[in-house]
């Protein structure tokens, strides 16, 4: 009967939204992505093996869905326009001269990262997935997960160092 997997999906929604924000960045696009992912997952529910991780399975569907959407939309508008910040509810990057990075500036930094760095950062650091699980979701080798993750986190470390040494932080937005 249908109840089981649906309720498990509902319980996963906050995590799916976090990953969707990592991919799509804008709130509306992220929620659209979550919905499309859930619809796809429900239609394919008989291909999910009970006893395996539902979260990994759904993250993978979302990742594929996102790639499909980008492919479809690229001719019209570039979703991945550089410089777009990560739109997460909460006050935005107040540019204070504090020695530490504000929440807002961390969000902007993450938002400015290339998508393949953002997604791995969120899967491992926000969703606590192992390198191996993240590799499976993203369909890349574990070594790639490690190098991308290190690049993403180096961006954050450099920003913290920049803040600590000079009021103007080195943006170093990766191309």
């Amino acid at each position: 009967m249908a109840v089981d997997i649906r309720h498990r999906m509902v319980a996963l929604l906050p995590r799916l939204r976090a990953f969707a924000h990592a991919l799509a960045r804008s709130g509306d696009a992220a929620d659209d992505l979550v919905q499309a992912t859930c619809e796809k997952a429900l239609r394919a529910a008989d291909t999910w093996t009970p006893g395996t991780r539902l979260d990994s399975w759904m993250f993978r569907i979302m990742q594929n869905q996102w790639i499909d959407e980008k492919r479809r939309q690229r001719p019209q508008t570039s979703i991945d326009e550089p410089g777009a910040g990560l739109q997460i509810a909460g006050e935005d990057g107040a540019k204070t001269a504090e020695a530490r990075l504000t929440l807002g500036s961390v969000r902007s930094l993450i938002g400015e990262m290339p998508e393949e760095l953002r997604s791995v950062l969120v899967l491992v650091c926000v969703e606590d997935m192992s390198y191996r699980d993240a590799a499976e979701v993203l369909d890349v080798p574990v070594g790639t997960v490690m190098s991308r993750l290190a690049r993403a986190r180096r961006t954050l470390i450099e920003a913290v160092d920049g803040e600590e040494h000079r009021p103007t932080r080195a943006t170093g937005a990766p191309s």
Binding site: M1, I5, A45, L101, L149
Partner: protein
Amino acid sequence: MTTRVTDEMLMAFVDGELDPAAAESVRRATANDAALARRAEAFRTTRQMARDAFVDLKAEPVPEALVAAVLRGESSKVVAFSSRRRFMQTALPIAASIAIAFGLAGYWFGQRSAPGGADPLGGGIVAEALGETPSGNERTIRASNGEARLRTLATYKVDRGLCRTFEMSPAGSQGAVRGVGCDLGSGWNVGMAAAHGGDGTYAPAAAGATGSIDAYLDALDAQGPLSPEEEAVIIGDKGR
């Protein structure tokens, strides 16, 4: 230091992803090299930074449209568990979660200010709303201890009547109670409820609230959820 420790190794070290031998060699390297140790610490900090950046998002209530889309979505066959077997397996957790939910709901809905405990759950008010509110809709209910928002989530056909899932949260609070109420021929009653926290997760465990709602519905051989059209025939809209 003798062997060069890369950023990847340091990062995997603080993430607990290195095998014991490699971890030991990084541990030794950082013990002898203060700069390396600081860099490892910096990598450790970035995990928390990333997590903090998403805290607000994850605490935000999930838009009801998404919940409804999942609960009403068309699904392929869908995981055919044996209902009875699953119920036997989950019988104990249900008992536990009902006990928890009664305590919580009692707190929110004014157990103490309802002497005699005639309706400690505020269940009567919820039950009344269940008979009237279309799924996906929200209404404000007044319990003895203040206002709460009640959302009906989905409707299921069971052998002897109907069951509906709902979520209620006291005004101005992030936490909520998720539950199921049924009308098995003698009016609506709240069958069970379980708490989920405001952090976007369902407490006490992932299988807590939603798992026991599943089991409850399974035990009643629930079919569904009904489409909005099917539901409209059955659920009155008097309350709006």
